[in-house]
Amino acid sequence: MALNKPITLKSIFYTAVSLVWIFGLSAIGHIVMVLIEKYNPAIKYDFAWGCAIVGLVVLYLTRFFSSDGWQSFIGCLAGLSVWFAWEYSLMYGASRLGVTYTWNGSYPEYRMMTWTYMMFVMVFTYLLFQESVRCNFIFFLRRTFRLMRGPVATGKVYNYGPRTFFEYIMVTWCFYILLMLAYDEELLGVYSWFTYLLFFASFSVFFYLTYKLLGYDRFGANLRYAIPTVTILWNDVEILAKWGMLKEPWVHINWPIMSVIIGGFAISTWLIVRDLRKRKLGMIETHDIT
């Protein structure tokens, strides 16, 4: 287990880089959508098709990479790409169905997404009982509710690319649904107890997950674990913006702040790629722990 490993400077470095990279990825994803909507909305559905195709092709390409680090890195990019396509498909559906904005400002596509919650529950239930799934949270649920009849699958995993792709999509989907249910004034509301609870729970869980993340000292596992960690922090960013306490730089196109985020993303990409290259060349010792 990751927590049995000592926290070293090396693991702090890997954690920081992974967090910056995943955060940058989400922020850049948002600003790309905002820029398209603002300056050239006519291309958005072509862009969505492009993203879907590129995402799926890139996902296929992960089969040619043996390292779990490269697989996770590329799987993450493929996940974001296909997520773009999913959001745009909902945008198109909302436009066709005449879904309006809400009075507290939620966008039609996210209103549509709210009501996919039962689909999410069905997919999650499958994952819960699928022996080969090794997500820590699902392990926790299996242990707590004694869900498994036999031992879970062990051994080396060879397809981290598709797993990371799927993880990225599932985690993002889960928290969008949670936020949208919280924002729904007919169910809970932006200033309801649930939204406050979600805010403080997300804040606390982010620190807990970061502490756990410190136990991983290589980019494969670290990147995968950083996805839920950053997405949970992102809940707080979204809620603060909804409360009017934060003007998101990617929504209001604040270039000075976005430049810092893009710079951080570029540097972290370079650090990850350099590390993965060195590891492949055997310049960094790798223990097969994942």
């Binding site: 300056y39 309006t100 009075w103």
Partner: protein, 185 residues
Amino acid sequence: MNLKAFSLFCLLALVLSGGASAQEKSLKEKRAERLLDLEKRFFEASREGKTIKGVLVEGNSLFNGTTAPHQRPWGQPYTADELKAARQSAERNSKVFLLSKDGTLYYPTVKKGVAVSQSLGAYRFERVLTEEQKKTNTFTWATLVPMVGREIEVLGEVYDGYAGVKGLYIEAVGFEGEYLVGRND
């Protein structure tokens, strides 16, 4: 992946993003020109009294007589409970109308000649900002539902409509305060 392949990828991304950035600049300029023109026409029309000022009201409760925003003091079309219900109905795609001070009811619609259109509740209207508002980095667009119950000023085209209800193509809107209620109001 070796370094050469990665460098090639970065180079390609740089070239593509350079092209995209140049295109974005030109699109940005076009948009800026359009907004400037809109702003000029909006304030000119406003000075000449050619804009339409009114409050946005929810249609279902107005037409079935559940609410009577036209009989209430100007600027307060609903009680707190009525407003909550009106917003809820508007979210559920009940149509939103503009009620002007002289009692004329306007049905927001698309430009004359457009045959296939979408619900205007899902449409983003350009928002004209005053110099003070520009300093606040506020939203540069607005949609109808969040503004139900609020007074807005519209630059657009008025059509004859039907049975006294006029058609209104909204080109741009202007209003005080933030677009979303509760945000820095």
